[in-house]
């Protein structure tokens, strides 16, 4: 692997990420961290009670207008 500058090592530029439990709570901080590091496409899901998936999508789109943000309502315990 090629050597990289220390700051570049932490960059997630042009990466895609998928965060489960990302609609509320700690997941929202994780969404933010990934987007701040440069993630271009963020998928997240949550059970979405009280409209939390839409609320988090709107919040993230406001903070990171250049990223593609896609929230899903899903329950991981439902096969």
């Amino acid at each position: 692997m090629t050597q990289m500058n220390i700051i570049d090592l932490f960059r997630l530029t042009n990466k895609a990420a998928f965060v489960t439990g990302g609609a509320k709570g700690l997941g929202t901080a994780i969404n933010e961290g990934l987007l701040e590091a440069g993630v271009k496409k963020l998928f997240f899901c949550g059970r979405g009670r009280h409209g939390s998936v839409e609320a988090e999508s709107t919040r993230l789109t406001g903070l990171f207008p250049e990223a593609e943000i896609i929230g899903y309502q899903c329950d991981l315990s439902d096969e």
Binding site: M1, M4, I6, D8, L9, F10, R11, L12, K15, A16, A17, F18, T20, G21, K24, G25, L26, T28, A29, I30, E32, G33, L34, E36, A37, D75, L76, S77, D78, E79
Partner: protein, 145 residues
């Protein structure tokens, strides 16, 4: 129910994500959020949660070994108590457990959600390219007690 979400459901989602996206690309980083509860007992009434989180530690290590050759890393973060909607019955200031949680932690405070960001980005990025199968506690020193 707790096991279905925290362990079984997560396993199926992980497997699908790896098969569909990571194996074709030949790279990927999976970060499981386990808990200090996966390592030691604590407040009462969280047996299923503790079992699911300990199981997730095992799953992290096993998948790390299985997928290492495919360029896929699997690590975990073990937070202690952080304030959230889910943990509110323990972490909110009017909870009977609040004082106990604070006093038990070496830093004498809860974690703040933003304090997970650094570890997540570290594990997601090339900064940790030779690290797989590890669990990093983000716990104010609780697991070292």
């Amino acid at each position: 129910m707790v096991l279905n979400v925290n362990l079984t459901g997560l396993f199926f989602v992980t497997k699908e994500t790896v098969n569909r996206f990571m194996i074709p690309k030949g790279e990927g980083s999976i970060i499981n959020i386990t808990s200090v509860s996966g390592f030691k007992g604590g407040e009462v009434g969280v047996q299923a949660y503790a079992a699911s989180k300990a199981g997730l530690v095992g799953m992290t290590k096993q998948l790390a070994v299985e997928w290492a050759m495919m360029g896929i890393r699997v690590n975990a973060i073990a937070p202690s108590w952080f304030p959230s909607y889910m943990s509110r019955h323990f972490t909110s200031e009017d909870s009977p457990y609040h004082q106990q949680i604070i006093e038990t932690n070496p830093m004498r405070r809860l974690g703040e959600p933003w304090e997970l960001k650094g570890t997540v980005v570290f594990l997601a990025s090339k900064a940790s390219s030779y690290i797989t199968g590890t669990v990093i506690p983000v716990d104010g020193g609780l697991l070292s007690k």
